[in-house]
């Protein structure tokens, strides 16, 4: 047995929400800005660091995947206005696989 995607969604949902919320923990935030960690933070928090073009695309991908607008943060019916990762993924981008590789 493995975890199915549907089983992972609640957890993934919390992770995505954490990233989209205002910064709560400075040390974590600073740590992953370092080159040693491939500046992963900026990849996941694009709107404050506009220097990285690919990161915007990356977050758009997550947004597409979780079913929200790119900038707009349309909340998708969560109880307290949180985002809800839905299973409406894959449909929006059929031809984006090749583009994805060249970002890095």
């Amino acid at each position: 047995m493995t975890y199915s995607e549907a089983e992972l969604l609640p957890t993934a949902n919390i992770l995505v929400n954490y990233i989209l919320e205002p910064i709560q923990h400075q040390s974590l935030y600073k740590k992953y800005a370092h080159k040693k960690y491939l500046k992963v933070r900026d990849l996941l928090r694009p709107f404050e660091f506009c220097s990285l073009t690919f990161s915007v695309s990356a977050v758009q991908r997550v947004h597409e995947a979780v079913g929200i607008g790119a900038m707009g943060r349309e909340y998708d019916g969560g109880p307290d206005g949180r985002l809800v990762v839905s299973e409406r993924r894959y449909s929006t981008r059929a031809g984006s696989e090749t583009r994805a590789r060249s970002w890095w």
């Binding site: 957890t11 919390i14 740590k31 960690y37 992963v40 970002w103 890095w104």
Partner: protein, 185 residues
């Protein structure tokens, strides 16, 4: 957490974030951080603690985790210095005994990192996905909503999300062989 009167999730977040900073300065293994979170949470869920002792619990749990995981762990004196000498060495050693007794000396913890490694191996150890995954499971240490999540689930979700962000959500090779264990244990 409901039985605590003086501390709340926000204070826990501040403490873990501070330890994370210390952890990064000492260049310690990531396992230490996860074990620390586990020790802290297990201790806090069995004993109510006053705010004045909260940081002591934090550094002591960190001290225990470092001793368990690291080859060269920081000494008690270094740990005491970290907290601006607010607590004496005796305080820390006493707290250490108390925490260990409360946890019944059980420090086994199958942290999310092992699961992430396993997932990453199925992914040909691709470094970007793994680093994103590490970032995501570290969020699991800090975010209170993820405290109750099973480590294997957290790691699986992190790996899945990391590949999604990088636009590689379709597995090239079937990961099933390696991921088969994810629910068995």
């Amino acid at each position: 957490m409901s039985k605590h009167t003086e501390i709340d999730w926000e204070k826990r977040g501040v403490l873990v974030d501070w330890v994370l900073q210390v952890h990064a300065r000492f260049n310690l293994l990531q396992e230490t951080l996860f074990l620390f979170t586990n020790i802290l949470d297990r201790f806090l869920s069995s004993r109510p603690i006053s705010l004045s002792k909260f940081q002591l619990v934090g550094i002591t749990a960190f001290f225990i985790a470092a001793k368990y995981e690291e080859t060269y762990s920081p000494s008690v004196a270094e740990i005491a210095r970290l907290a601006d000498d607010m607590y004496s060495i005796e305080d820390i050693l006493k707290a250490e005994r108390y925490i260990l007794k409360t946890l019944d000396w059980d420090l086994r913890y199958p942290g999310p990192l092992g699961w992430l490694r396993r997932g990453s191996k199925a992914d040909d150890c691709e470094i970007k996905a793994r680093t994103v995954g590490k970032y995501l499971i570290e969020i699991g240490c800090l975010e209170w909503r993820l405290v109750g999540t099973v480590p294997s689930m957290l790691a699986a979700a992190a790996m899945w999300l990391a590949r999604l962000v990088l636009g590689r959500e379709v597995w090239v090779r079937s990961p099933l062989k390696l991921w088969r264990f994810w629910l068995k244990t």
